[in-house]
Amino acid sequence: MVKLLKNLLKSPMFVIGVSIFLITLAIAFLGPVFYDVDTNARDIVAGPYAPSSAEHILGTDHLGRDYMSLLISGLRSSLYVGFVAGIIATTLGVFIGLFGGFRGGWVDEVLNMGTNLFIVIPSFVILVLISSAVKDGRSLTLIGLIIGLTTWSWSARAVRAQASSLRSRDHIALARINGASSFTIVIKHVLPYLLSYVFMVFIMQISSGILSEASISMIGLGPLDSTSLGIILNQAKDNGALSDGIWIAFLPATLIITLTVFALYLVNTSMEGVFNPRLRK
């Protein structure tokens, strides 16, 4: 474990990725300590599109709200949605993948069919349909939940492949003739081998959660109870910031989303590089 961490820290990709991600986390959660953030995004502090000033670093938006404050609370919401979606998708995916991969036989086939179905059905379409169906009470948590429930299939597939390759190892057979129950076998003899993998899947799911939320909010189906980065973009779009060339209204938000997702991507790929050499021989 310590050795793995050491190897990870040797990978520049990992260090850069983790650093960027930690910075975004710091902005989101330590930001309000240093900057006056209005989490409800209601306070109108100046005229529309006020230029940047000492008080309002990035100026204001079309309504005259502090733009920096919007960004920080937007980032918090986006990360929150990412985590909610990530946890739900990972738990669901790991559970389904583990169970199918470990049991094999018809259980596996049924679960695998379900997984593949979810992979081919574009989850974004489902997301749009569900979101537009729930008109009232479309909260941040609900959006995270819906994203999680529609994107688990990738983790299920990844975990299933790993679990079924473990299934043929003799230590599983030995556990069985020791009288261990299926539950014990999965928890004691399969899951520990997959932990690093589960972690990777989790990171991937967070980043896809953040992206999904941004996309759905962009087209106006985002949460109604808070400001996320996607909603900032949506409002910028609706108010013609793009055509008017008011770059400050959309560029920072886009940049932050890209950076966060990119950081998670770096972490994920570098971990794959460190965890997989044992496949080499």
Binding site: K3, S165, L279, R280, K281
Partner: protein, 328 residues
Amino acid sequence: MSENIFEVENLSLHYLGRFGDKTHAVTDVSFNMKQGEILGIAGESGCGKSTLVSGLMGMCIPPLYPTSGDVRVRGESLMNRTVEDIRSNVLAQKVSMIPQGAFNALNPVRKIKDIAADVIAAHQKPGSSMKASEIYERLRSRFDLFGMDTDRVLNSFPIQLTAGERQRSVIGISTLLNPQMVIADEPTSALDVSTQKEVIKMIFDLLDKGIFSTMIFITHELPLLYHVADNIAIMYAGEIVEKGTAEQVVKDPRHPYTKALMGAMLSSEKSQRTRKPVAIEGAPPSLAKKIVGCRFAERCSFARPECKKNTQNIRMVGDREVRCEYAQ
């Protein structure tokens, strides 16, 4: 007299435990090998043969560390070099290693030809990399030499091949860059006798065709070593206890442990069949503690009281080396 191609001088290796404890798996091993020699190493299970192989390659990957001593290939030392250095400058090009159980651990989702390309690419100097197609061509002509069904084997996944085909592929791949020396760790222990014979035939073929010239062959099966090796070294608890020609060690063992090994042999030959193998009780000393006196004394049927106190050194008995002061 030809010069030594491989020299091992007082090599000792240890594993560093999680709590800072040391397991001295290999102690004071020395031997030289000449061009064309096959040296067999046999010994008690757990006596440090596989560890010695890592040491001989200079591949001391933590928790394994060199304690002291030196290993030289044609005068070039392999000790105290980084694993990356060994991997890209020594492995597969000067010395090749066939690890214990490697043919059962091949990546199941890659075809033999892709595994070959991976292995070769990993062990090459940065400047001189071969293309995958080039590697494939070489592999083809190499496999053709041994009468293998080349196209089928190269385009198969490991599980589609028999154990013998897998092991021969591993040997084919690891000798692709014409190393001078090959170190094989129990390459045939998991195989049935017919497959084992096929693999040995292939190794003899490679030697005869000059693909490589010198070999260390590790197994616990002395009758096999007798047929394969020129010289045999017997290990016990991290030390070499006897080294001589195959004829000497198998037919006329002098060290009490070698004698015990021969006495425990089972044979299917009619004349030998009724002989009961003689077991020796007890276990070798723990390698994690300091050992006083002869390491085999506790279990030796010839032991004298002073054996438990006197550390034994290698001495010459006739023209062979034995680590026992009472050996005749």
